[in-house]
Symmetry: C2
Subunit: 332 residues, 2 copies
């Protein structure tokens, strides 16, 4: 079988040639383990830190080692009573065509919802959005919510959850194509292209009463700018800092005088704290996906050999929608 290994240590934005496809032996499941055929591989910004050993629970990936990653797959062989061949599952495994996992590390999926969505709206990015909106920001109808990386897997879910909650939603995204998706597919009330001249003035104009809520996926200058647009008593979920994931030394942040002046509240959000919400996230967001209230956009690449190039695309900000590598068909 094939897997993707680290070919060259990461330095700055990951490139396709940081990764190599290798032929390795297909693993064999032992007692209590499952053999899983990979269908979809998830690409997410946290992987940048995970590969370099900067993400919680991850040692640095060494040269020649397989890249870690989350997958949706199908059980081919089960040595655990709770699973049987044919079950669709999610697990945090690796960039490989087949994986063996202990049953305790595998979640069974309800195929009533789109399988690939379990890597996006129904998976970790969706849970991040769901927790940030329902537990931290708690917007009320009529509030205005601002979200950066508005067409990303997290940002698009944040904005749509806020819209479903009755908020006015303003996004920030890079380029007119992404902004058109935010206001078109996702139903945002406005989307500001941060690559356009005068975007900060456009942002202010789109937020005449300020933002009651800001969900930050970016950090850096974007966060500093958003803080200037907060309404009094505004709340901020700090979730990701993709602007610095490719950096070696964290840059300084915004002066926090504005947090005092605005009486703002800032909340650090780590999705791993919110496992208890998974069942309600999947039940609600799955229903909204199926009835069309929630849109899920994917940026698919075909074949495991495309994983490295597709990860580059994500970390360079060129993806639109949730990046997914299609490794195999849903039905074997």
């Amino acid at each position: 079988m094939r897997e993707v290994q680290l070919a060259r240590l990461l330095d700055g934005v990951p490139q396709a040639d940081n990764f190599q496809l290798a032929e390795v032996a297909r693993p064999e499941p032992g007692p209590g383990q499952l053999l899983i055929r990979t269908i979809y591989l998830s690409l997410d910004p946290y992987l940048r830190g995970a590969i370099s050993g900067r993400h919680m629970g991850h040692d640095p990936v060494k040269l020649g080692q397989v890249i870690p990653g989350r997958i949706v797959g199908q059980v081919a062989l089960s040595k655990d009573d709770r699973f049987q061949a044919g079950d669709y599952v999610f697990t945090d495994a690796s960039w490989a065509e087949w994986v063996v996992q202990p049953a305790a590390a595998v979640e069974k999926l309800d195929p009533a919802f789109p399988l690939s969505a379990y890597l996006g709206a129904l998976g970790m990015p969706g849970l991040t959005a769901y927790a940030g909106v329902t537990e931290l920001l708690r917007p009320l109808p009529g509030d205005t919510l601002l979200v950066s990386a508005a067409t990303g897997a997290v940002g698009s879910a944040v904005g749509q959850l806020a819209r479903i909650a009755g908020c006015r939603v303003v996004g920030i995204a890079g380029g007119p194509e992404k902004c058109a998706i935010a206001t078109g597919s996702y139903g945002f009330d406005a989307c500001i292209d941060y690559k356009a001249d005068g975007w900060k003035a456009a942002l202010a104009a789109a937020l005449p009463g300020g933002a009651n809520h800001y969900f930050d996926n970016v950090g850096g200058d974007m966060l500093a700018t958003a803080l200037t647009q907060l309404a009094l008593y505004g709340k901020v979920a700090l979730c990701g800092l993709i602007s610095q994931y490719n950096e070696t030394v964290p840059p300084p942040g915004p002066n926090l005088g504005i947090v005092v002046a605005k009486r703002a509240q800032l909340f650090g959000l780590v999705v791993y704290d919110y496992d208890r919400l998974k069942s309600q996230q999947v039940a609600r967001m799955g229903r909204w996906l199926n009835d069309g209230r929630l849109k899920h956009t994917e940026d698919r690449a075909e074949g495991l050999g495309q994983a490295g190039a597709h990860f580059h695309k994500l970390m360079a900000g060129h993806n639109i929608g949730k990046p997914i590598v299609v490794v195999g068909p849903e039905k074997a």
Copy 2:
């Protein structure tokens, strides 16, 4: 009578010669107004911004204009039914021996508590501490609370309130004399001298399990350092940024990646939001002052002519305790 006027525009740390004493006519109260004899003048860091027009509700003070400031005084002549001559009062007025104020802008004081404390523990600094501790941080017994500017009017009250709430309290202050007061008079469990070599290591050693709460009066490098010492889920009250009050351009702040990683919560605190707590603050903190559980240290200067030099001392960080100018005797 005499008042203190702006003699030279502020630039950086205020100096004594930014201010001048001037002879002016004593004002006359009209209907609904009070003539008040100033007893104590309060000096507070917010005045730095107020004089320069950077503090909410304050236009810049022009050359030759009187400096604004909060005072405790005694009513000499009342043209309002709610007050009578002899009443002790608090009002936000100016650096002057006599002031005239509308009755609605004046608060009557309970002389059961020390009068000068109404500018400190029973006044705005005490309310800042009380609101930060009871409304935002809400520490529980056994928690560890860290506070900067630990012997300042706000910091000393924060630490003592946390100690009364059953917390372990660690302060940060400049110099061994201030630290001795924090651990001696105020009963802090530890105080770290940020002017000493190796203070960051000493701070880490004083917080073996991290700080569950941090009350920031300083901003800048102090805030960045304190964030590194937060426990997981730590809460931070952002109250003052004295490190930058003398600056023209706000410096950058800490990288907020650590807020995400620690799942921290940051709260901007502006005392003007908490007027509703005043009566419980005065009742509780007044009782604790009188029974000795709460200590109030003052740095007194005698005579209105010392106000400018005393303000310099505060803004240069050389005061120990709440800076007060004694303008006249408590009993006329």
